[in-house]
Symmetry: C2
Subunit: 496 residues, 2 copies
Amino acid sequence: MERYLKIYREKRRILKAYEYFNWIVNWDQETEAPDRSLPYRTKQVETMTEEQYRHMADPDYVEAIERLYERRDELDVDLSAEIRKEYKDLRIIKRVPKDEYIAYRVLTSSAPKVWAEAKEKDDFSLFEPTLERIVTFNRKLVKYLETDELKGYDILLDFYEEGFSTELYDTFFEHLRTELVPFVRAVTDEHRKHRFSRKLKGVFPVEKQREFAEYLKEVLHFSGVLKESVHPFTSGVSSTDTRITTHYDETNFTSSIFSTIHEIGHALYETQNDPKYDDTFLHGGASLGMHESQSRFYENVIGRSRAFWDTHYARLAQTFPKQLKNIGLDEFYRFINHTKRSLIRIEADELTYALHVMVRYELEKSLIDGRMKVADLPKKWRTLMTRYVGKRPKTDREGVLQDVHWSSGSFGYFPTYALGSAYAAQIRFAMAKELDIDQAIRENRIKDINDWLKERIHRYAAARTPRELMRLSTGADFDPRYYVDYLRDKFALTQD
Amino acid sequence: MERYLKIYREKRRILKAYEYFNWIVNWDQETEAPDRSLPYRTKQVETMTEEQYRHMADPDYVEAIERLYERRDELDVDLSAEIRKEYKDLRIIKRVPKDEYIAYRVLTSSAPKVWAEAKEKDDFSLFEPTLERIVTFNRKLVKYLETDELKGYDILLDFYEEGFSTELYDTFFEHLRTELVPFVRAVTDEHRKHRFSRKLKGVFPVEKQREFAEYLKEVLHFSGVLKESVHPFTSGVSSTDTRITTHYDETNFTSSIFSTIHEIGHALYETQNDPKYDDTFLHGGASLGMHESQSRFYENVIGRSRAFWDTHYARLAQTFPKQLKNIGLDEFYRFINHTKRSLIRIEADELTYALHVMVRYELEKSLIDGRMKVADLPKKWRTLMTRYVGKRPKTDREGVLQDVHWSSGSFGYFPTYALGSAYAAQIRFAMAKELDIDQAIRENRIKDINDWLKERIHRYAAARTPRELMRLSTGADFDPRYYVDYLRDKFALTQD
């Protein structure tokens, strides 16, 4: 046991250094590196990946993980969680034929380009053969990895959200289907009547938006690096270094505000991890869904609340005195919570967002189960969008071709987006029993909220599963009703 | 032969990837990483250094270099230069007892802190025992490495500037002593009469200085990343990715202008390396002196020329309309070429700079030869500064404690600074035979100058020694007279 632990810890130390390399190169690439440097950088990354792989595939290391996994009950809770995680990652190396897997990696590294061209030309048939091959591999993959407990699409879902299967997701989405879909229809009908001042679509200088983003960092108590990139993202490597980006659009000033708050939510999760996890594979978050729950909590529960703008609208109006002249807090609040039936997921509002995800969930499920053909995707997409979101795309570019995920082989990823918002609502409900959230927001004591989340969720990093974290933080299993109740409450109010 | 070449090339590919890691981590650390992330980052860097060292010390690799070195005459010119370079680097591993060397590395990694405290407290005695140990090691080091051709201080000089020995440097500095010292005395006396508008010391907003720095990038045809750091520097990893920083001081606006131009000079050298060297150890520059010659060429020969500001002063005045109102081009030009006897090397002007270096050269030479004791440094420093620069420091902080170099063990480094300026003057003389430099500058055709330097110097990277490059670019060996002539010319003119 001691010998295996020693091998494990020594290799972990080395692998963490390679992880650091990948982290910093990616960060640099997305935020700063000149395009022309890509070929050179790619070569270095390839070499480093070989070096890293050599360590990961070291038979002594693999054996150590397997032996420790067998005796995981004798390990402390952190180490046991970590070994379980590493053991799970070994499955692919052990069960999938190496050449098939490499061929798949090659395929999915070039497929996003094929997808981008198909989207650009609005021609699904250009992407179809590639997607066909990706889906075929994933159907085989789930066969290779299946166990007595997990089969089919459940395997992929479990990749991204441990312990979440179609059984749980079906219940979740069924609830949205019966409760949320009709509600969204009513609210979006109502919101059609909203009229906003043209000034809200005016020009808001980027320099001033940057200034306000710095203000948001202070308000939310995030002190990491904030930079700019085409698509906002969070990139963390340790509790002492978690960085975010945002994107400034001169004619859409609320976009950078909410993307900044969203990414700060992700970032606080990681900076508030217990530092003891920095040197382990547990640093980060428990799952994609849990991560998204934090970003959505900050973005929507805090950032789109009336309480938040009661306190901070004056500062915003002061930052944009000309642009927001005569725009009152009421109108601004209605503006940032305006909801409508739309076609593009990443532009969808808080109320309708999960329905976009539901479309993707149903399609993925039938695709992986083999009940649906890739060729039928565009048609089926239109049908489901019309049914759930209430709007029918006219083109595939605005439909099935809008997202990059499938081209990189990410099946089972989308559902975590909706789950995150639903977690956030349930967490909010639990938090409210111990903390007057609106009052804390209004009195600019976001720190109290940060502390609550740190204590109940953040500090555990990935040492607990998402299901355990829901129990630890809310005292109950995940229940989608909180989410629908939260949306009903919030959008019933703004409807008035 | 083929076998050794294969081993060599394969290992080189791997080592280049580690080099890339070090490069990007350093860049990030100097420009962006939060201070609190230092301990975590240090751990990763240490791990990666072990990994890298393991590759470098691989006996197969060492053997390949030795065998290829023996048969270097059969290799092409590039490979032969590269192998010579790598073989040279092996000397330390092979000849210096490992534990002594490691002890020294440990010493010099902590010594800069000791130095900083001594400087802060203006107390040389706090630094003296540490410096004593560093000097003692260097005296031993030159014994370990001595050959029939190279002995003593010459070994250290050759580290930084291949082919340059005390014999050459003595001639160089002797020329400065007899020709430059009296001239500087006369010019600085004359310049004491200069009076400048107080506005030139006013407040120049950083945002506007940034704008002008971007303009300078365009004028000089440099398109790499420009960021900010406490001390400006250039950091390149390949011909496609060379980055620079500058530092903006609100009350010293010319500082960022000339540091930006200086760093662009360094950067152009590396971006204009033949891209074929990117994958070799030859990418970069031939030597410190050659590198400095390029930065000084751009900073002084171009950037402080009348021709440059004939063309660009209007733009500068437009950037700072209030600050530069009523400041004419004549006054500005006099201001940026004003020279005086000063104490601090890094603040010294073009005319007096080399004399600061001469002080250090003489001290280093006597220290390494053992003719001088460390304890005598402060007194000897005062004497030489008074003799050469004409100003006597009252404190050690403004004297022997001002520079960090010796605390990190860099003996033999300083002389390359002066050599760089002298190279630049000789290169200018050669260039002027083929190109009307002032006219090119005035007509905003810096590209012609870039091209000339690329063709004669930059493209060769480190595949030629500095002495070979001087012959290639100027048709002659290095000759310090060009430098003194250039300064006499320039400062005689502005004296009027």
